[in-house]
């Protein structure tokens, strides 16, 4: 295998060299516990504080409105459960296309007696803000809608939803794991009270993420122990991770706009190339309101996993829209919610481009996809699926 092309940036990204360099001292010479009063601890505390200020500046929020967590999943659990449990009982509104970290948190709340409305989406995977308004009840205590969907990349009208939430006096949580560092986020303009974000989707390390909590928002902790993070999230801080996140957002602030434009053009080149060469394909997600690097494409009557395998053998990393686990295939809950027919949904393949992606990579992928899909279709029963 000669060429290797990574088109799975929505899953994870390589740590930026500047981020690695910034983190390294915190694995070695600066190893104190930030809670310790001695000099070793104070050095670590200073690093955590400085990184928190960087992330706060990037999001244009106050440093004390940020809580560092272990990942996007923890942030989502904290965001939704923290808001709901602080209110004891009531009704929660979310959407059918959320990440499982939100969906299963909502289901856990249902098991505890909360009522949950799961909003439908349109064919582009977009929530209608009017549906949010219609779903509101006198006992609605939280709304959680993601900023952009990881599978199809559709960017939700969170500003319109935030305005409705604010008008109703209901706190609004947004899972921004896929947009943080890729598209601008203004929590004030968008009316967001809690925002989940993660580091490893934007060239930072894994195992570090955060939750923005607007000052004055009633929240309860879901992890108990010491007095860390202003008693909102117990556990010794992941100092190297926090430092890495702090540097990652600085790099994003510098590179985000230009990279976004470049990656958007490559994403369109990929789709145009495939559309011109491969029969029976469709692009999922909103045509324009979509993450810069995300192209989710369905190949009718082909099972996505066989395409992923065929491309993997050519050194190309993409992800399957349906997952065959223990012999049972689940088509993506997002594509099902969008009303994509099963014979298309089973053949969904997501490519997510990033800072290292080149035009040559995209052309190689287009040629490889063309070859792999043609080969699989040759062995395919007509009309099966």
């Amino acid at each position: 295998m000669s060429r290797r092309v990574y088109l799975d940036h929505n899953a994870s990204t390589p740590v930026h060299p500047e981020v690695v360099a910034a983190m390294l001292p915190y694995f070695g010479e600066i190893y104190g516990n930030p809670s310790s009063v001695h000099g070793f601890g104070r050095d670590a505390r200073a690093a955590v504080d400085a990184a928190r200020e960087r992330v706060a500046a990037f999001l244009r929020v106050r440093p004390d409105e940020l809580v560092f967590t272990s990942g996007g999943t923890e942030s989502d659990n904290f965001g939704l459960k923290g808001l709901a449990l602080a209110r004891g009982r009531g009704h929660v509104i979310t959407s059918t296309i959320e990440h499982h970290a939100v969906l299963r948190s909502a289901q856990a709340l249902e098991a505890q007696g909360f009522a949950v409305t799961y909003l439908r989406v349109d064919v582009h995977g977009m929530v209608d803000p009017d549906e949010v308004r219609r779903a509101l009840r006198p006992d609605t205590i939280a709304i959680s809608v993601m900023h952009a969907n990881s599978e199809v990349g559709t960017i939700q009208p969170v500003g319109a939803i935030g305005a409705i939430a604010r008008e109703a006096g209901v706190p609004f949580h947004v899972d921004a794991v896929q947009t943080f560092g890729k598209v601008p986020i203004d929590v004030d303009a968008l009316g967001i009270d809690a925002l989940s974000f993660s580091s490893h989707k934007v060239y930072g390390p894994k195992g570090i993420a955060g939750l923005y909590i607007r000052r004055g928002t009633k929240m309860v902790s879901i992890q108990h122990g010491g007095e860390h993070e202003r008693r909102r999230r117990a556990g010794t801080e992941n100092v190297p991770g926090i430092v890495g996140l702090g540097t990652a957002v600085e790099v994003r602030a510098r590179d985000m706009k230009e990279e976004g434009e470049r990656v958007t053009a490559l994403r369109d080149r990929l789709w145009e190339g495939i559309r011109a060469r491969v029969p029976e394909v469709r692009l999922n997600g909103h045509p324009t309101e979509r993450l810069p690097g995300t192209a989710n494409i369905c190949y009718r009557n082909v099972e996505s996993e066989s395409i992923v395998l065929g491309l993997d053998l050519k050194g190309i990393a993409v992800s399957a829209g349906s997952a065959c686990t223990a012999g049972s295939v689940e088509p993506s809950h997002v594509l099902v919610a969008m009303g994509v027919p099963l014979d298309w949904a089973m053949g969904a393949v997501r490519s997510s481009l990033g800072r290292s992606t080149t035009a040559e990579d995209v052309d190689y992928v287009v040629a490889s996809v063309t070859e792999v899909v043609a080969k699989i279709r040759k062995a395919m029963p007509v009309g099966a699926a």
Binding site: S306, T325, I376, A379, A384, A385
Partner: protein, 131 residues
């Protein structure tokens, strides 16, 4: 790579893929849990399989399993193929991961159905299987 070299080779270069016109027997099987499907078309001479072709829909292992089955079944008495076991197909692929065992099962089921269909036609009484 979680798949054997043999499996990958058959996936990349499937043997005998495609439709066969005027087959002496054909049959298919589906793994309902994930919709994987294999279909075989058989050409029979003197009670033995002279040629097999396949069509498959599914993950890489299912395509590879159907491909390898057309090879391992070649030349064998059709009566014997009615009893083809999934294990033999799995062995011919140098193993399958636990969560992909169904690939061999669906190929074996389809070959058994095709063989049964061919036998039935020989005896002038169509049996289970499909054209």
């Amino acid at each position: 790579m979680r798949y054997s070299e043999t499996l990958v080779e058959h996936f990349l270069n499937p043997r005998n893929a495609g439709l066969m016109r005027d087959a002496d027997g054909s049959g298919s099987d589906e793994y309902a849990a994930c919709g994987d499907l294999a279909r075989f078309y058989l050409r029979v001479q003197d009670g033995r399989l002279a040629q097999a072709r396949f069509q498959a829909y599914g993950c890489g292992p299912t395509i590879a399993a159907a491909s390898v089955t057309t090879e391992l079944a070649g030349g064998r008495p059709v009566e014997e193929l009615v009893l083809l076991k999934a294990q033999e197909i799995e062995d011919a692929l140098d193993g399958l991961p636990e969560d992909r065992k169904h690939a061999a099962e669906v190929a074996a089921g389809a070959m058994r159905a095709a063989a049964l269909d061919a036998l039935g036609r020989t005896r002038g009484e169509p049996m289970k299987g499909e054209a």
